[in-house]
């Protein structure tokens, strides 16, 4: 989610390079995020080749922001 949070959209190959995950692993993560309504998958043709663009939905962005806030609060509560 972090990798999609910092860009507007990216394709599967780009995410694979950035995360270093195997195709199967990444695909399974993305499917779960798509089912949760956090990631939007758009299939289109670019230069006559199938292209899958992935982007965080508004719900996904909000969820990630909330996650960041929670982690920050948790870290602040930790003793020095």
């Amino acid at each position: 989610m972090m990798h999609l949070y910092v860009v507007e959209s990216a394709d599967f190959q780009f995410l694979q390079h950035q995360t270093g995950m195997t195709p199967g692993n990444l695909s399974s993560h993305l499917r779960k995020l798509e089912d949760a309504g956090y990631v939007e998958v758009t299939k289109e043709f670019v230069d006559r080749t199938p292209h899958t663009a992935l982007k965080l939905t508004r719900k996904g962005r909000e969820a990630f922001k909330e996650y960041r806030r929670n982690v920050k609060r948790l870290i602040e509560k930790l003793p020095e």
Partner: protein
């Protein structure tokens, strides 16, 4: 490392991986060389190549650069669309450069207008150390792009340009030859980056690279 820093690092990594292919360097270098050659042709053929060359080059180089990005970079690392935050910063920079360029043209206008009736002392100084000013301007512009785009090698190009133009001033090397030298160095650096990029990101087998599995 804080969460904020991690996000910045990830954003930077995504951005850098897309701009470490050396294509930008190769085309900027080609632009400098073609501009230098245009100026040389200008002297030999006495035709206004120097004046029209930048426009011709942009019309030729830009579509080739976009196509090269599509054929070389995208099949290797995939496609990414960055948010508008960076574009706005870049747009502000380009607007600033356009205004600065207009200012330089106006300054040249002043040079020409005052050429017949004697120039003020400060214009004389600008003329006398013209190469150094151009070098300094290039270093500033290079640094601005380096800062905006987060590409550290552009600082190096800016410094190199300044060093070459300053030495060109003292060694009386013609402007066009300096452009050829700078263009060659930038192309060589871009070629090295391109080879490294192609080795680091080989073409995926088959055409399934950007299709979700």
């Amino acid at each position: 490392m804080t969460k904020q820093n991690t996000l910045r690092e990830i954003e930077k990594k995504a951005y850098m991986s897309y701009h470490q292919d050396g294509l930008l360097d190769i085309f900027v270098g080609l632009y400098a060389i073609a501009f230098g050659l245009g100026m040389i042709a200008d002297k030999i053929l006495e035709f206004g190549f120097g004046a029209i060359m930048p426009a011709i080059l942009i019309a030729i180089v830009l579509p080739i650069w976009i196509e090269a990005k599509r054929k070389i970079t995208m099949p290797r690392i995939g496609f990414v669309k960055f948010g508008t935050r960076g574009s706005n910063k870049l747009f502000a920079l380009l607007l600033g450069l356009a205004v600065a360029g207009l200012g330089v043209f106006m300054l040249f206008g002043v040079f020409l207008a005052t050429g017949q009736i004697g120039r003020p002392w400060w214009i004389e100084i600008l003329f006398q150390y013209g190469m150094i000013w151009i070098g300094l301007g290039s270093a500033v512009i290079g640094s601005l792009f380096a800062y905006t785009m987060g590409l550290k090698r552009l600082y190096g190009y800016g410094l190199l340009t300044f060093a070459l133009f300053a030495s060109g001033h003292f060694l009386s090397i013609p402007f066009e030859y300096l452009l050829l030298a700078i263009g060659s160095v930038i192309i060589a650096s871009g070629a090295v980056l391109l080879v490294q990029f192609i080795r680091r990101y080989p073409l995926p087998k088959g055409a399934q690279g950007n299709v979700a599995q």
